[in-house]
């Protein structure tokens, strides 16, 4: 009774709520017209607030205590030494001169041989050939050493991530309590924009391989834990029960039932961990991590599209090779199971011995002879690639500029500028009041509280106007992501053919390290805010599209059939059945899209987005701006939390409304 009347009154209030939001927006517009330019808390690029100076001083103090504070002396410094040594060791093996040699232990021939052997033994002939070709191309592009540096960093981070992540994942798979404990931590690790924790890390681990490894691990451990836990958890309860009924101890159930049944999933986790690590290992160039990331970063900073493209290409090739090899390895688990006893153990041993023998010979050659150690300069075609990319970029800028300018101006003037003018041009208290009111109306009281606290925090951080400029870009990018997500997602969810065409593209988009996008986009649009937005859209759209498609596919076939048999047109089917029923997927797509966009804010700062992204980037390079950069990083996280909470509250409210509505009938 009471519940029914409550839902009735709630439903009755719904339209009014919508009008209230409109009213608040109108009020804001009026306020903007009257109070434009007042209390906007603008802060110049080199200007600092007392807080920023204080942060600078605090960071200096931490720097100074590195060799006196016991936490550093007995804990952090050891971790740093260990990580540095680990990376240096792998580098000595494959990339850097070491052990009184002018060259690394394994030369190019040895590395190519070993990589191919591994691909052959864990994957198949096809990926082995791909691996050989891919590794050779690093040398051909003239980036052998840089590539090996990236590989060394990635492999070290992956090995450490798996060593930590897989056992924790198994634990999280077995224990509900630990799973509950670790999930929000992982959420936080994954949603925190990657660039934000780079600078603080250098405080503790200094600039260089150790910080880069920690940053990469922060990014790469969550998938290892999550996917392992998922694999352990998804083991069929029927099978587990059967094991228990036969008297298996929990250790036996883990060894004989859970782990073997989760093995394929765990290898998928390894794949995800490797991809995450590679992506982060490139980004870590911002804190002086060695490798391809450095090359791209330097080229981006000097707007040298050709060099950036060349190095970007090497990153993509490495991503593709690593992805294919690990995917093939996970499929091989299945195949090996199939083959069962048909293949003899002896045959496999012979194969392993043979392949490793060949690799060992190649390794020995590359250890002993210079020709096999140093990639021949004659085979270096990198300069051609660079020049070709430069030429294409120039051509595109010259010839496509008419079209790209139309798009750019349309979006900039039509969407971005109005957003930015209103957000950054209104008094801070007006924006805050409006945001809190909207959060209250579409979300919940709690969301409103988070909004109020978050925005006040931004004010305290002294970066109000920069934050509003960033927020405008973020919102525009998110709108674009959702447009793309809805259109492509619905198409993909409804058509198998579209799925077949789009999915590999999206997969490629997701596995490619973020830096790489910037290169062609930069080539087309030059360094502007708009470039940053497009880069963010390219980065975030695949996730949104996939989630929407997943939701559309998840709609029960019976319901769709019922609607079709009732005579619904395609458009009615989409708008009245599939999208409403996939709504939770769509909102999830929106919030994930938003988080992905936010995590690209800093990258945007590299290509002319300004605002918070620039503050962070400047903090990396200029000592006196470190404090401001840290504050900007915090501001990005705060914005993310506020947007995420409001979005979640709004989703929850909409779900409840839909639920209450359906109950009334």
């Amino acid at each position: 009774m009471t519940a029914a009347s409550a839902t009735t009154s709630f439903a009755a209030r719904l339209p009014a709520r919508r009008y209230l939001v409109a009213l608040v927006i109108a009020f804001w517009a009026a306020g903007w017209v009257l109070l434009r330019g007042r209390d906007t808390l603008a802060l110049g690029g080199a200007e600092l607030t007392p807080l920023h100076s204080w942060l600078n001083a605090a960071m200096d103090a931490i720097d100074d205590s590195r060799n006196s504070n016991p936490i550093f002396l007995y804990f952090i410094n050891y971790i740093r030494l260990f990580l540095d040594e680990a990376v240096t060791f792998v580098q000595a093996l494959i990339s850097q001169p070491a052990m009184d040699r002018p060259l690394p232990v394994l030369g190019w021939l040895g590395v190519v041989g070993l990589a191919t052997a591994i691909a052959l033994l864990y994957g198949n002939v096809r990926v082995a050939l791909l691996t050989a070709a891919g590794f050779l191309s690093f040398g051909v592009l003239g980036l052998w050493q840089e590539s090996m540096d990236t590989l060394a960093l990635t492999l070290t981070a992956v090995a450490l991530s798996l060593a930590v992540g897989v056992p924790l994942g198994v634990w999280a798979g077995l224990s509900d309590r630990f799973h509950r404990l670790v999930t929000p931590v992982l959420d936080f690790m994954q949603t925190m924009p990657t660039f934000v924790y780079l600078a603080p890390l250098t405080l503790f681990f200094l600039i260089g391989p150790a910080s880069a490894t920690v940053a990469t691990m922060i990014y790469a451990i969550p998938p290892a834990i999550r996917i392992t836990a998922h694999g352990i958890r998804q083991v069929s309860p029927d099978t587990l029960e059967a094991g228990a009924s036969l008297g298996a101890t929990s250790a036996q159930a883990l060894r004989h039932v859970r782990l073997p049944m989760a093995r394929q999933t765990i290898i998928v986790g390894v794949n995800q961990t490797i991809m995450a690590a590679l992506s982060m290992a490139t980004i870590a160039a911002l804190i002086d991590a060695p490798g391809l990331g450095q090359t791209v970063l330097k080229a981006l900073q000097t707007l040298d599209v050709g060099t950036a493209f060349n190095a970007g290409l090497a990153i993509v090739i490495m991503a593709v090779v690593l992805d294919r090899v690990t995917s093939a390895a996970s499929r091989r688990v299945e195949a090996a199971r199939r083959a069962g006893r048909l293949r003899t153990v002896r045959g496999r041993r012979l194969e392993v011995a043979g392949v490793l023998g060949v690799a060992a010979v190649l390794g020995y050659l590359s250890y002993t002879y210079v020709w096999a150690a140093e990639f021949p300069i004659e085979a270096n075609l990198g300069s051609y690639v660079r020049r070709a990319a430069d030429a294409v970029s120039l051509w595109a800028q010259d010839n496509l500029v008419a079209y790209t300018d139309i798009v750019k101006n349309l979006l900039t003037n039509g969407l971005l500028n109005p957003f930015q003018t209103v957000l950054a041009g209104s008094p801070w208290w007006l924006v805050t009041a409006v945001a809190v009111a909207v959060a209250l109306l579409v979300g919940s009281a709690r969301a409103a509280l988070v909004t109020a606290v978050g925005l006040l925090l931004v004010v305290v951080l002294g970066l109000w106007q920069d934050s509003m400029v960033t927020l405008a870009s973020t919102l525009v990018a998110t709108v674009l992501v959702m447009l793309l997500g809805m259109v492509a997602g619905v198409w993909m969810g409804r058509s198998d053919r579209a799925d077949m065409v789009l999915r590999p593209v999206l997969d490629a988009g997701q596995t490619m390290p973020a830096f790489v996008y910037l290169v062609p986009i930069l080539g087309l649009f030059g360094p502007t805010r708009f470039t940053a937005i497009i880069a963010a859209v390219v980065f975030a759209a695949p996730v949104a599209i996939k989630l929407v498609a997943e939701g559309i596919r998840g709609v029960s076939a019976t319901t769709v059939e019922a609607a079709t048999s009732a005579g619904a047109s395609t458009w009615q089917l989409i708008s009245k059945v599939q999208l409403p029923m996939a709504r939770s997927a769509v909102t999830l797509a929106a919030s994930q899209g938003l988080i992905y966009v936010l995590s690209m804010v800093v990258v945007g700062g590299l290509v002319g987005a300004g605002a918070l992204g620039y503050d962070v980037v400047a903090g990396f390079s200029q000592h006196q701006l470190r404090g401001k950069g840290l504050a900007a990083g915090i501001a990005i996280v705060v914005l993310g939390i506020v947007l995420d909470r409001v979005m979640r509250a709004a989703t929850q409210r909409a779900d409840q409304a839909a639920h209450g509505g359906s109950h009334q009938h």
Partner: protein, 353 residues
Amino acid sequence: MTVPSVAERSGLDIDAPPVLSVRGLWKVFGPKAESVVGSSLTRKELKEQTGCVAAVRDVSFEVRRGEVFVVMGLSGSGKSTLVRCLTRLIEPTAGEVLLDGEDVRKADHRRLRELRRHRMAMVFQHFGLLPHRCVLDNVAFGLEIRGVAKQDRYARAREVVALVGLNGFENSYPDQLSGGMQQRVGLARALAADPEVLLFDEPFSALDPLIRREMQNEVIRLHHEVGKTMVFITHDLAEALKLGDRILIMRDGELVQVGTPDQVVGAPADDYVRDFVSDVPRSHVLTLRWIMRPPQSGEPLDGPELGPDVVIRDAVHAVLSADRPVRVTDGGSLLGVVTSAEMLEVIAGGQDR
């Protein structure tokens, strides 16, 4: 009408102590489950007042050695919970489960594992096979986890695989087998441990009707060959009547009736059971004992003789072709007579008695 006792019908020794004895068993799901034990509220009242669901309420029964004991009920009646309480795959809330006089509920973890490894084995509805192991390794799994050496366990597994008719499939993987064959693997796995009691949780529900019948016959055959005590859960009345020496009928977690198939059909305990068995052709289940009557004076008593436990269907020809009443005798003494009138009534008349 007198209700025949089990002992008269089956050859089981009812004086021997039961293998499995369940007394006052409760399983309550929900907060403060213990406090609900003993409550007489209906399921709905219970849910509303305490938030608890009593899946098994005060169930007591005994299973005799060598018997096929069927627990039957619709979905949600608590039968699967009940069978899981027997080996504590689900922990009972109250009551006793005695296996050869030993209280299973008092066993510690180690003892419970011993029990599961050696004395009770279960066959599951969805098989619960390990997809990454071949048939032989699946069957040997129970032996492996109790530490039997490789050679010995494979030898035993091969034996059982042959017993369930899976010769030649030892190296196949579960997903290469049909549902019926997968369940044979499940059966073999349970048999491999040579347990005293076999528990079946709706083992054939997921199979199509033809395979189901084949598997039922397989169980009957195995029961003849290995003579295990079996507790068999099903929602299929025909299956219960076909396999069960005795049938326990459950509703809403409560025991409604325990009896032999002809007792359940011939003398339903209440309207629920009556409704349940109303579609069963009575002549297929009831025996002559159920329809015989005392001879009337003047009736000729020199007709053919039949035993009291002959199923009516099997006596039709003899009774209808005789020109005088058929005598129902047991060990020479006359129990009653049956004529075509009684036969036709039960065959044609049917349901209401």
